[in-house]
Amino acid sequence: MDCCSSGSRNGAGGGEAESSGGLRRWGGRRKTKEPMRAKEIAHVEKYLQADLKTFRETALGLAPNSAQIQRSADTCTATRPSRPPTVRIRTIDRSRRRDATRIEAGRGMQQKPAAEAIMEEETEAEEVGMAQATAAAASAGLAGLGFWAAARRRLAPDDPFFAAGDMERELLAKHAALDLSEDERYQLEKMDVASANTLFCPISGCGAHLDGLDNFEDHYSTRHTASCSVCWRVYPTSRLLSIHISEAHDSFFQAKVARGFPMYECLVEGCGVKLKSYKSRQQHLVDKHQFPKSFEFFKKARPSQHQRHKNQQRQTVYKGEETRETLMDVDGKNTRHMNWRYRRQQHDPNELKENENNCKEPKHNEMEVDKQVDELTSAVSKLSTADSTPSSISFGHRRSRGLTFVPRSIRQNKQVSKAEPK
């Protein structure tokens, strides 16, 4: 093992200056584009392999490839090639570092040196500015409805948008004999896509850090779908769920309401106001917190076709708890994961009837029906839980449906057993 003797300079230097006396000394080996000899190529590849190793370790967090290390160690001890490679390390870009840290730079956008960090701040400020401008436009626009703006978008040269292209340039310039595996390519892409922003969950009061855009879905479904074990309604926070449980399933709550205590909490966290009735709470939300007028905490939602399909699947799973109610529950009221949504009042009159008939919690429904009816109509109250003919009831401006009416939700959902109004 001769690697420490200072004398040996890979003597058989061949086309190096030694033999050619100064003319061909840099015979095209600096820039790898010009023809390289086989041994040099081998050395370049080893160099690139070293990069790949470091890339794997650092950027991808994978274990070092010890087999590779061994190999390189071997070449140290083995007979040296006749001439050391004279590959000049040419770096391309602002990240410019030779090895894997260059790729990390794509990810570690936040770690730029001071001067570039300033640019980053400016870009962020720009984005905030833009967001504000859009907000201004939106609210200056009609009733907060933001409209599509067809306009050119310009990007600064160091915008994270271009990071992928810059990285590609780096890799190509080193003749990417990096030979990334499928998985590594995927990781690299994921990193690139996710690298642009640090994300936090946008649901008010949550603030959880999101590890990437893909993870938002997972986060949302684990953290923001708190479901009621009594009626299976789903809420985005446990606080709302708990309010729901008190208001909907707690007789003690009702008792206090009846005695005139202000029990209905404002839904906005931190507000603290309590009102005496559902309606007045509603009004408070509209007046003080600019909630839309048709906002409904208890909803009579009609889930989408997709949702209904999902609900049906779950209903068959929960056989044990099945009752006529669940089977008849065509609007998904009693199924899990019915997302808390806006009330849609399309066939309320007769659907209400449906659910009244089948519901196990008359009291609960009474309250709900109250709300619905309040909204729908000024007059008729249908609070009876007994079977009754829907026939031609009209509420307010509704057309009468008559006996032949079958709620759309039933019609459309072929999997539900027909629940004709009796």
């Binding site: 570092r97 008010s204 989408s304």
Partner: protein
């Protein structure tokens, strides 16, 4: 510790020892006089250069710590033989290619490196110095401004005009690093230098792909940073040349800057879309073909940046929208919005949405091109937009909501809301009930109120 690790450490120590020794040799050779001293200098320089250019991790750190840079500066002194200058510059090049601190260690060498760029220097020496300077410039804005203050711009530019291909290429590459900002000042200066616009045009037109690639990167940064440059470039033959390269080359290294340069020009100056790429001109059809070629590419960078460029053309006139809509681009984009990664989906969304609207007077909702909207929705783009609504990224969510507004307002026979509902759009919008962003909340709530309110579904 594994045996592999142990061997590595040994090897590393071995290398470091050699490096320290080499530095010592460099030092002592400097003080040599007399016969054979010049030869000795070259020898020790070469030894250093070998160490720094070997394929495993070169011992840059060890060399710098051992004080190699000040020594190399001395080897760079005026009047030294070319071979010596070359080897010294080569060593500095590779040191500059190391860690940031290592690059910074080149500071004392900069004035000499810049000086040796001059027209009296041997072209090979100048080229090597340009390479070293390019590495330094690539490190960061601070070093860039140092180089500029010391006058690196002009001599480098002069080298870019060289007839020698490798020199022009190295100089162009170094320049692209030097002008990349964020200060636009340099870019502004560069375009004003005599001969630069012509050199750019000449090289984009005739040079081999390697040189054209580096020149294209210069165009990328000029067009991203300098208003003056954009204004000159869009009126020259450069756009046509970029488009030509885009169409004719299959070399990814060239395609990336050609595409981005085109994208920057389209984004940066209305002249491109309004005057140059007007519908009916040959160049417009070619540009579209070039962008479509990129949309179809296996390479995701091309797909992504082409989508962005296309979106800016789709934001143009009604004629542009018709042209793009009728082309292959539309089904490609619909596929992208459904299946691609997030960042590409966003760009595809921009383009598809732009195809569907013509701006109205301010504060009024945009006019919808119903034919386009229907075709795009029927083509299956809606789930992709709804997916964006679900995104944690505000901009994407807003984009999705805005498109849903178009669908619900503009899809014929009032079918919009139903279509949206069928794809779980209501669910997606309701997420915003408790979104912390008030604008988003209001937007989503407003839409649900308006389209899924009391009267929804009555007309069945």
């Amino acid at each position: 510790m594994e045996e592999g690790d142990m061997v590595i450490d040994e090897e590393k120590a071995c290398l470091e020892a050699k490096t320290v020794h080499a530095v010592e040799e460099l030092k002592s050779a400097l003080s040599n006089q007399g016969k054979g001293s010049q030869k000795k200098k070259i020898e020790v320089l070469r030894a250093m250069r070998h160490l720094l250019s070997q394929s495993e991790v070169p011992p840059v750190d060890a060399a710098v710590k051992a004080g190699v840079v000040p020594l190399l500066v001395q080897y760079l002194s005026f009047g030294s033989p070319n071979e010596q200058l070359l080897e010294a510059a080569w060593c500095l090049t590779n040191i500059a290619a190391g860690e940031p601190e290592e690059t910074k260690s080149l500071l004392p060498a900069l004035p000499l490196l810049i000086a040796h760029l001059g027209e009296k220097s041997s072209i090979l020496v100048a080229e090597q110095c340009a390479w070293a300077i390019g590495n330094v410039a690539g490190e960061g804005a601070e070093l860039r401004s140092k180089l500029l203050a010391q006058g690196a711009l002009r001599p480098l530019t002069h080298l870019m005009l060289s007839n020698k291909g490798s020199t022009a290429r190295t100089a162009a590459w170094a320049l692209s690093n030097l002008i990349k900002g964020p200060d636009p000042k340099v870019a502004n200066e560069l375009i004003e230098i005599d001969g630069v616009p012509n050199a750019i045009i000449r090289n984009l037109e005739k040079a081999d792909e390697e040189l054209a690639t580096e020149v294209a990167w210069v165009v990328v940064y000029l067009s991203a940073l300098s208003e003056r440059a954009i204004s000159l470039i869009v009126r020259s033959s450069v756009p046509q040349l970029l488009i030509g390269r885009l169409l004719s080359s299959d070399n990814l290294q060239l395609l990336i800057p050609a595409l981005r340069g085109l994208g920057n020009l389209v984004a940066g100056d209305g002249y491109m879309v309004d005057s140059l790429l007007t519908v009916g001109n040959n160049i417009t059809g070619q540009a579209l073909s070039g962008l479509i070629k990129c949309l179809k590419s296996d390479n995701r960078v091309l797909r992504k940046e082409a989508s962005w460029a296309l979106s800016n053309i789709a934001a143009g006139s009604f004629e542009h929208k018709k042209l793009i809509f009728a082309s292959e681009a539309t089904p490609l984009l619909v596929n992208l919005i459904a299946n691609a990664q997030f960042d590409i989906r966003k760009e595809a969304a921009y383009t598809l949405g732009h195809l569907c609207v013509v701006p109205a007077r301010s504060a009024e909702p945009p006019n919808i091109i119903v034919e386009h909207l229907v075709s795009i929705v029927d083509g299956g783009a809606l789930p992709g937009f709804i997916n964006l609504v679900r995104s944690a990224d505000i901009e994407s969510a807003r984009l999705g909501l805005q498109f849903l507004e178009l669908v619900m307002r503009g899809y014929p026979n009032g079918q919009g809301p139903k279509l949206v509902e069928m794809e779980d759009g209501i669910d997606a919008m309701e997420r915003f009930q408790f979104h912390e962003n008030e604008v988003m909340r209001n937007m989503a709530n407003g839409l649900v109120d308006k389209y899924f309110g009391e009267d929804y579904g009555l007309d069945d």
